[in-house]
């Protein structure tokens, strides 16, 4: 084991190839015309085209759905990180009455299937008049993004030595000054990872987003599933939309690329 610690086994290349193959297929689909997709099976597209992407960027059904999705994802991420920061700090630095039980309760919400909460969500958000707005989805997604944010941030904060807090107190700084000017910059990689996962989990969620929207606030994931069922034929546009929905994730992961492996390393996904 120690002798070949720097060399990868050839089967690993095989596995990575198997990971990339379906993605390659999605990419080729996205640049093919529909008659080429259903006509012959081409491993390399013979007549690549960008028509499918043009269709998405010029058809309001598609680009408005993208805007809706981005709206609730951004609102959700901001709310989640804002409320989770102080809570994670409290969990990582203090023992208080019922802290373990509270932490467990938060965790159960990350683990619980969204389907369980589906039934009342429709009634709840209709009752408070938020139904079919991005804010309903943003708030509903807090169900799992807030516990997730607390969980990840707590891990990063616990890795920061307590001496940092104490030194600042000795220097006579107020707790708020310390928190915003020293502590937050120190854990910025943790915040990056948290933003990424909140963004991701809210971006990929389908069930709640579909239930809480009807027409005005329809998000991209819902439009994609409707395309399959209704037309059933427009594979090229569907694949192009798939490629585009992967892009924000890749963009965010690019910004936090150095810290992401560390986030996985703590096992808090």
């Amino acid at each position: 084991m120690t002798a070949d610690a720097r060399k990868a086994h050839w089967t690993l290349y095989l596995y990575c190839g198997w990971l990339l193959l379906p993605l390659y297929w999605l990419l080729t689909m996205a640049v093919k015309r529909n008659q080429d997709i259903t006509g012959t099976l081409e491993v390399i597209p013979a007549r690549p085209t960008l028509d499918n992407f043009v269709e998405i960027f010029t058809n309001p059904v598609w680009y408005e759905a993208f805007a809706n999705s981005l709206t609730y994802v951004v609102v959700n991420t901001l709310v989640s990180v804002a409320v989770a920061l102080p809570a994670a700090y409290a969990f990582s630095r203090y023992r208080f009455l019922g802290d373990r039980h509270l932490f467990f309760w938060l965790l159960t919400n990350r683990m619980a299937p969204p389907a369980v909460f589906l039934l009342p969500f429709f009634q709840l958000y209709s009752a408070i008049g938020l139904f079919d707005t991005p804010f309903a989805v943003a708030l509903a997604h807090c169900l799992f993004t807030v516990p997730l944010a607390v969980w990840i941030l707590e891990g990063f904060m616990s890795a920061v030595p307590r001496e940092l807090d104490e030194m600042s107190r000795i220097d006579g700084h107020s707790r708020a000054w310390f928190f915003f000017r020293i502590f937050i910059p120190v854990i910025r990689s943790g915040i990056g990872v948290t933003v990424f996962f909140c963004f991701m989990f809210s971006w990929v969620e389908l069930l709640i987003a579909r239930t809480l929207t009807a027409s005005d606030a329809k998000p991209i994931v819902v439009v994609m599933t409707r395309t399959v069922s209704a037309a059933g034929l427009d594979w090229g546009v569907l694949a192009a939309a798939g490629v585009l929905t992967i892009l924000p994730g890749i963009a965010v992961v690019w910004f936090v690329r150095r810290h992401l492996v560390k986030g996985f390393a703590m096992g808090r996904v």
């Binding site: 373990r100 039980h101 009634q123």
Partner: protein, 90 residues
């Protein structure tokens, strides 16, 4: 609140849980617990044992409903006994 479709039995159920939680909190402030090891295969605090009692009672009810058509009060009695054993000896 109308959409929540409250009924008296469920309101009483949640009220008793809230009361129990309040009582546990007050008790914790007055007489803080230490972890201890009873017949349960893990060391628990009073709050842990309370949670184990509630969760176990829920499953006793579920199994009762799945297995028999006898009145649910039987499951209730069984749960009370179970909860008492867990709270005192767990």
């Amino acid at each position: 609140m109308a959409w929540m479709a409250w009924t008296w039995p469920t309101a009483a159920f949640f009220a008793s849980i809230v009361l129990a939680l309040t009582a546990m909190t007050l008790a914790e402030m007055r007489w803080p617990t230490a972890e201890r090891q009873g017949w349960l295969p893990l060391s628990t605090t009073r709050g842990d044992r309370f949670f184990i009692s509630l969760l176990g009672s829920a499953f006793i009810h579920v199994l009762w409903l799945a297995a028999t058509d006898l009145p649910v009060a039987g499951a209730g009695l069984l749960s009370l006994g179970y909860a008492a054993v867990v709270m005192t000896r767990g």
